[in-house]
Amino acid sequence: MLDLLAGFVGELRAAGLPVSLTENVDAMDAVRHVPLDDRAALRAAMAATMVKRPEHRPAFDAVFDAYFAVASAVDDDLDFDLAALLDDALQSGDGEAVRRLARLAVARLAGMEEGRGVRGSAYVFKTMRMLDVDGALARLLAGAGWLERDDLAAGGQRLRSEVEAEVRRRLVAERGPQAVARSVRRPLPEDVDFLHASREELAALQRSLRPLARRMASRLARRRRLGRHGRLDFRRTLRRSLSTGGVPADPRFRRPHPHKPEIVVLADVSGSVATFARFTLQLVHALAGEFSAVRTFVFIDGIDEVTRLFAGTDDLAAALSRVHEEADVVAADGHSDYGRAFATFWARWGREITPRTSVVILGDARNNYHAASAEVLADLRRQGRRLWWLNPEPRSYWDTGDSIVSEYAPHCDGVFECRNLRQLEAFVSQIG
């Protein structure tokens, strides 16, 4: 058991979960107190001692399922009508029915054979497609009301995770826990690459964005409040000194006037980096209260201001979809042209950049071999306060092909690699 636990913790760490030594020891302690045949209790004990962030829970569950799988008895030989079972399972969402369907479906449809080096996700995909889950959902959804729609979605979700669990169980029996855990390893939400996120990962990112923004807003606000003292408040110091016989023993200070930066964001919204721009804009606008002003410009080869779309709305997602419809970002051929966008920006809005303005540029600097117009950035930086560039591409890709990061970099106060939420968070807390 100890060996199994050690392997389990090793795998958790490999998946990116920060499990400290104390937590590891606590887990060992906790496991002694729960009956080992009670898997739910075992899972709860380990999660309570080692997983201290809800975002890390899915990764933990995947590893746990691989290591502590229970062999399942399947009534393979019985011939059931899978289609009828499917409708029933989706509609009722009943745990037992869904589990049973998942077992039967994987046994019959996945075509799992021993010794084939196929990834678990391929079997899941195959099972779901052979069952035609999407088709069944679409059929049932027609004519479904509001509540039924959500019931069905939940049923589909549950079926998928049961099929995943079943495939995992069978793979573990064949290949052993370690190999399986490695093959189902998924990045933590904060490590998901913006540019290569799958649909589910994007949804997870979207969900973690709001709590992240709230956490960061309180962190920024707190840091400003806790900053240095303000100037000496002479009047209140004097008044205080009356109680110490006129000796100013307890100096009072004015509240500091915190400096709130004014932010101008220039975002490349062309297809290749649109996801990145979307998340960053959402985060910046969710934090708008922490800046004295936020202005947003989007560009491809033309550039347009879209601040008004964000004004007075809470629904950032809707605002962002309007950005794509309403902003006038295509001037010539609809391929990114940073030089042209920057030049246009400078000509039309350049005068509004003041020494209090910090400019953040979002983009991969892939300029489609157009002119760079880097001198515009030099002007921008001279006139504004700070100039940062966030690049969603890995550093090793910079300056390859039509990427011209190094032409712009000398004119920026910093060029940051910003591939995931973790890096984005680090950057924003630095500028606040």
């Binding site: 906790a30 729960v34 209790a41 709860a44 309570a48 201290k52 809800p54 509540l147 309180s218």
Partner: protein, 294 residues
């Protein structure tokens, strides 16, 4: 409830679940396991999750079931030692000094006298540590205090002791069961998280919420409880500023009972939405959804 000889309060995970059900708190496997482990391992439990998912209620229910006294420390920004740990009752000390002046007590006697229990005002943390009987300590909304204040809790939660410089260290005779709750408005320090068992309480599943409604509002007909749980689930899936909490679900169920509603049609739902949702924009969103769904 009876105490087992080892000094632990709870016999098994199942007994925790049944016991909590007895006081109308429906614990799932994870909740029951963590409460059980907290007792066995003598570790505090950090309960995190959205507002209104029963975090505070969990601590209260455990106290009620175990028959322990509940000591509550409500956290807020600016909470300090004198409000969390202890404070010297300096007015009383001053009186003692003035009373002693006439009698000619020496300073050393006086000093020994005014720093004793009699002049100590205990605050929740010290009170929980000094309690002779079993207590449940609830440290509510711990994410509201500053990071620096969090450090105050560390000594108490890991060594179960409080240092009072004038008197020495007060150690716990019995280790209290501690629950810390947090709404996750900021990240708690790693040091604090490391010392705690972690329990994330999210909105319950449809089935569990239905059971909660039935347990808490038994007057509601069973078929309506299911409807209520489904509607609330669907509301939570909408993009709302403040999704309805479990306590709001219960309020809604009670409202339906009072109104004597027999079937839940969209018009009834719409006219009572304000019990579930507290933002005008949210109510509008939900009403729109109800209309399109028919």
């Amino acid at each position: 409830m009876a105490e087992s000889p080892s000094g632990s309060r709870f016999d098994s995970i199942a007994s925790v679940r049944d016991g909590l059900a007895g006081v109308d708190y429906l614990a799932d496997e994870a909740i029951a396991s963590v409460v059980y482990l907290a007792d066995r391992l003598d570790k505090p439990v950090l309960v995190e999750g959205p507002a209104g998912t029963g975090k505070t209620e969990l601590a209260k229910s455990v106290a009620r079931w175990a028959g322990s006294r509940l000591i509550r420390l409500q956290c807020y920004e600016g909470l300090d030692e004198s409000k969390a740990l202890y404070e010297w009752n300096y007015r009383k000390q001053l009186l003692r000094i003035q009373a002693g002046e006439g009698a000619g007590t020496s300073w050393s006697d006086l000093e020994g006298d005014i720093f004793t229990e009699e002049f100590l005002l205990t605050r929740p943390l010290l009170e929980a540590i000094r309690a002779d009987e079993p207590v449940v300590l609830l440290i509510d909304e711990v994410d509201r205090v500053e990071v620096e204040t969090e450090a105050l809790l560390l000594e108490v939660l890991s060594d179960w002791q409080v240092s009072v410089p004038e008197m020495g260290t007060v150690s716990a005779t019995r280790i209290p069961l501690v629950f810390l709750t947090s709404n996750g408005t900021r990240d708690l320090s790693e040091a604090l998280k490391r010392r705690c068992l972690y329990l994330h309480l999210d909105y319950p599943s449809v089935e569990r919420e239905r059971e909660i409604v039935l347990a808490r509002v038994p007057e509601l007909p069973a078929h309506l409880a299911g409807e209520v749980a489904r509607i609330v689930r669907s509301l939570r899936l909408l993009d709302l500023r403040k999704p309805p909490s479990v306590s709001e679900t219960l309020d809604w169920a009670r409202t339906l009972v009072i109104l004597g509603v027999g079937t839940l049609d969209p018009s009834v739902t719409e006219s009572t939405l304000h019990v579930l949702l507290k933002h005008r924009a949210d109510i509008a969103t939900a009403a729109r959804e109800l209309k399109t769904a028919g």
